[in-house]
Amino acid sequence: MSEDRGVAQALPDDVAALADVPADKGEVHVVHLYPREMSIYGDLGNTRCLAARLRWHGYRPVVHDHHPGAPWPGRADIILGGGGQDSGQVRVTEDLARHTDRLRELALDGLPMLMICGMYQLFGEAFITVEGRRLPGLGILDVTTRGNATRMIGPVVLDTDFGSVVGYENHSGSTVLGQGQQPFGRVRHGSGNNGSDGHEGARTANVVGSYLHGPVLPANPALADGLLEVAARRATGGWDPAEVDDTVAERAHQAQVRRLLGS
């Protein structure tokens, strides 16, 4: 991986070494938003997964951890955000406001983004607290979330454009899609956005918001590579994946599907 550009999260050398292809297909820059404040359910696993897969495909991953108040990374080809506690959300609000226009532009421009749980909510139109207070979001996804007394917790299976997706949800916010907003997936097991309309997450262009952690990418390699394809095309002008052995990931995926759907 690249030597000196503030790569905060090292990809283990041996993982890089496991890739029996040279890293000669170009750099792809992965930006992880708020890995301290908004990374409570193993969200670092998504970043690690993308970095490792890029390397396995012959690309050179550069990971930027973006912290509140820090200058925006020089380059972003794909952006990740995770879940946090209420206190963590409060801590990132100001920084997020500073970068709202930039994030909106990048989203419109087709940059792939994966926003999980708390960051998914913040990417929506608004969050309405249990007391009825309306906190505006970035408005990149047309979803509105209401604070809720009951938590939606448990394993999930979805049907999505990326095939079936497994994960785990744990949220008290109940989210509703605006008219015309495409969901990320349809719920086959679990609660999803609100437990009633069968929708999970939201997707606009290449921006995916979802309540699934797990973390979601390692056991869903088709989703990971789907996002990486867009990122690599933006970064290098093409997508030239290598043969990656996903036997273990597919078995982990299938084990959950079988267990939860009985098929």
Partner: protein, 439 residues
């Protein structure tokens, strides 16, 4: 003591006798008793002359409780405890049923009970603790407790309900902040690590740095009990600031690792607080050195002459500490991950643990309900996995067969540990769970 309590105790004892015949679990008799007399705990424990001590926090409750009980018994106190690690109120009541008469009279001077964060409040509503030992707050079973902040609030409430004294972890800001919330006249005592090894704190605590003041540890003060390890990494002293006569050690625990040492420090600081002037440092050192590891917490089982170590892992902090203690040793390694309720149903946390230390030797086998997810996690850290076998019995068989006569270690979540421990007990004539002779 009312008729209702006696009836409830009789029913519980009956259930206990039946469930023991059937080899059943430890919680049902407690459930029956509690249903019949919700105030049974207050009626039985509330009258103990030296009070009720609650041990709570995310990591180390069972080990610390066992050590504290050993320390107090070594000083001549008769101690009631819940030694099975069944740390819900029902588990406490189930333990009680074995020792209490139908009159409700308990032959003990003091009760020392471990309770998980949520159940501690259910308990304290019944019996306000006279003392509380609060160990740490980490992410554990988030689907049960939802948020770290929430867990910290539970412990704070427990401290607020404590009437005599609290012993707090000086190095865990979630716990040390609680000092501002104890009632008037409630004494605060501290345990922590000696400043000379402060750089090892990350091994003990989850790297949770979401808060600016998270690293602002309390400066040691007079009376604090501090962990000071010896050069060899196995022996240590619990140093009492400003009172060297009370220093306990150097001594070596039977349970290995820094986490066990900090648990011993917490237990020692609490014992000294409870015992006051009758605390004896040599007695304490002898007692600690004799404590056997609780089931599955670094317990070593003799498998046809070769040591098999069972290491319970429940959360990122615990797994990281366990790997720091054991990870680089040349033994065959199995990892068993279940996601039942008692394990925490969400296995995301595996991605917050670094498995680099296992890379050189690899992992022989992953097992449990989430065996494939564990293997996948290891793949992302470049750790080779020999076999994946979801079925715990088949996994254990294969592991024992493949590594016969060589040192072995199994890292396992709670229900996986219970399952494997039962199989191992049957095969190698170990004490059964709940019948720990050293407890």
């Amino acid at each position: 003591m009312g008729v209702r309590t006696s009836l409830a105790l009789a029913a519980g004892k009956g259930t206990r006798a039946v469930s023991r015949l059937r080899g059943g679990g430890s919680a049902l008799p407690g459930l029956v008793t509690e249903r019949l007399d919700p105030a049974v705990l207050r009626h039985t424990l509330g009258a103990l002359p030296q009070g009720v001590v609650v041990v709570s926090g995310t990591n180390g409750k069972t080990t610390t409780t066992k050590m504290l009980v050993a320390l107090l018994r070594a000083h001549g106190l008769r101690v009631f405890t819940n030694p099975t690690g069944s740390n819900f109120t029902r588990g406490v009541i189930s333990s009680l049923l074995a020792e209490v008469g139908l009159s409700g009279r308990l032959d003990a001077d003091v009760a020392v009970v471990e309770l998980d964060e949520a159940h501690a409040l259910h308990f304290s509503a019944q019996v306000p603790p006279t003392h509380a030992l609060l160990l740490n707050v980490a992410r554990d079973q988030l689907d049960r407790f939802a948020e770290i902040d929430h867990t910290a609030r539970l412990l704070t409430t427990l401290a607020e309900q404590t009437t005599g004294g609290v012993v707090l972890n000086a190095d865990d800001s979630f716990v040390s902040r609680i000092s501002g919330h104890v009632g008037e006249g409630v004494q605060v005592r501290w345990f922590g690590v000696d400043p000379s090894i402060a750089d090892r704190l990350p091994e003990l605590q989850e790297a949770d740095v979401r808060f600016e003041d998270a690293q602002a540890a309390r400066e040691p003060g007079p009376g604090d009990g501090l962990l000071l390890p010896e050069e060899d990494g196995r022996a240590f002293t619990v140093r009492f600031v400003g009172d060297p006569d009370a220093d306990v050690g150097p001594l070596t625990l039977r349970q290995r690792g820094l986490a066990a040492m900090i648990n011993a420090t917490a237990a020692t600081a609490t014992a000294r607080h409870l015992l006051g002037g009758s605390f004896s440092a040599p007695t304490a050192a002898r007692a600690l050195a004799a404590v056997a590891p609780p089931f599955g917490r670094g317990e070593v089982i003799d498998v046809d002459g070769a040591p098999l170590e069972l290491v319970l892992v429940k959360n990122p902090a615990g797994f990281t500490v366990a790997l720091g203690t054991y990870g680089t040793e040349p033994v065959a390694t199995m990892v068993a991950i279940n996601d039942n309720y008692a394990d925490g149903r969400d296995v995301s946390w595996l991605y917050d643990v670094s498995f680099d230390s296992l890379r050189e030797r690899g992992v022989a086998l992953t097992s449990g309900v989430r065996a494939w997810d564990m293997a996948l996690r290891l793949r992302y850290d470049g750790v080779e996995v020999g076999h994946v076998e979801q079925d715990l019995d088949l996994g254990l068989d294969r592991f024992l067969t493949d590594h016969r006569g060589r040192p072995m270690r199994i890292f396992c979540t709670y229900t996986a540990m219970m399952h494997l421990r039962r199989r191992l007990a049957d095969r190698f004539a170990l004490a059964r769970f709940g019948e720990d002779p050293d407890a």
